[in-house]
């Protein structure tokens, strides 16, 4: 699936660039973006190390298990394939908490930790599990409760109004993400394992 989407984006870009006469910019963007991708990844190292270090302490001291236990009734419903005592649940919850609080910097390392733990119980290492898809559906729908500081800075006194509308819109988008993931998981064309998948 991603193969077609990825190629379609590139193909459309080249066609549109030719039509609009921006083909030089397309070439430049391709090269510049490749560099940006590496810079972004390398730039993650410090913040990743910081939060993974703190996470390890939380794990060893039993904090993660404690949190996982508290939210068990919810996670059992969302991630039926993950054993409720699995460390992945703790990481998922911490990632979501960081997202809710608008702590984007902390959320990514915690989320990647969750992905690694989900990968441990994945029988097909190159294919996403239902739990991974559900986790990312919630994640990409933005479960943010607090506005990021950047938006507050931009909107000034309007922030409190936007705070309200954002919570409402986020609630709807996250609900959609969860329902979509649940429904799509049952569809034949996405069933697991399917060697026909591209």
């Amino acid at each position: 699936m991603l193969n077609y989407i990825w190629f379609a984006i590139i193909l459309l870009s080249v066609i549109a660039g030719t039509v609009t006469g921006k083909i030089d910019a397309v070439t430049e963007a391709a090269i510049a973006s490749a560099e940006t991708a590496v810079e972004l990844s390398i730039g993650l190292i410090g913040i990743m190390a910081l939060w993974l270090g703190i996470m390890k302490i939380a794990e060893e001291s039993g904090l993660v298990d404690l949190i996982a236990k508290v939210v068990k009734p919810i996670t059992l419903k969302l991630f039926p394939d993950v054993p409720p005592d699995h460390p992945a649940i703790g990481s998922i919850v911490l990632n979501m908490s960081a997202n809710i609080l608008g702590l984007g910097n902390a959320a990514t390392p915690l989320g990647l930790k969750a992905m690694q733990e989900l990968q441990e119980i994945n029988p097909n290492k190159d294919t996403a599990t239902d739990a991974m898809c559900m986790f990312l559906a919630i994640n990409t729908s933005s479960v943010q409760l607090l506005l990021p500081a950047t938006v507050v800075g931009l909107m000034g006194t309007s922030s409190s109004q936007v705070f309200l509308s954002t919570i409402l819109a986020t609630g709807l988008s996250t609900t959609t993400g969860i329902i979509a993931a649940k429904v799509l998981a049952k569809m034949k064309r996405f069933s697991l394992p399917s060697p026909a998948q591209e």
Partner: protein
């Protein structure tokens, strides 16, 4: 009332990270006798491996998105979609931000800043924009980084679910703001 609640939340948010950075080692060391320094370093080690593993996935995704943005395809979409969206009361000023949001965080933030500058933070346009920005995510980037970090290449329905959530988030932002603030 509303202002003070938001204020309390946003002031409290400033202390969340310091509290975590201090509270977790405190609990570990004082309550559970964990060797916090040694364990921290152990955990931090993984940061490098994960960051490096993401690189190829992020290159693939960001190159495609970068080309797409530079090609003027968004402007073409804007022209094509504008009349349709007028029918459903979708403000054309917010369309570019809506299209950009799943593709690029910095790009969509730039567009939001632009809206605020042009129309002012008190305008409906800016409020819709900020709500859109807050209620959706850079889906393509998140999927590339998260799946890339574990080497998953077949992502099944994750993109569809994410984009559906974005779509609902964007339309909710428009209609909720129109309902509340217009």
């Amino acid at each position: 009332m509303l202002e003070s609640v938001a204020d309390i939340f946003n002031t409290g948010a400033k202390y969340v990270i310091p509290l975590l950075l201090c509270g977790i080692p405190f609990y570990g060391l004082v309550v559970k006798k964990v060797k916090v320094y040694e364990v921290f370093v152990d955990g931090a080690q993984e940061g490098f491996t994960i960051a490096v593993r993401i690189i190829p996935f992020l290159v693939a995704m960001l190159v495609a998105i970068g080309m797409f943005r530079a090609s003027g395809m968004l402007d073409l979409l804007l022209v094509t979609l504008a009349p349709v969206l007028q029918l459903i009361n979708f403000p054309p000023e917010n369309l570019l931000l809506a299209l950009m949001r799943p593709l690029s965080g910095s790009g969509s933030f730039g567009l939001l800043a632009d809206l605020v500058e042009q129309y002012g933070p008190d305008s409906l346009t800016a409020k819709i924009g900020a709500t859109m920005f807050g209620s959706t995510e850079t889906t393509f980037y998140v999927l590339a980084v998260y799946f890339g970090s574990v080497g998953v290449k077949k992502i099944r329905y994750a993109l569809f679910a994410g984009l559906m959530a974005d779509l609902v988030g964007i339309f909710s932002a428009v209609y909720i703001c129109q309902l509340l603030f217009a």
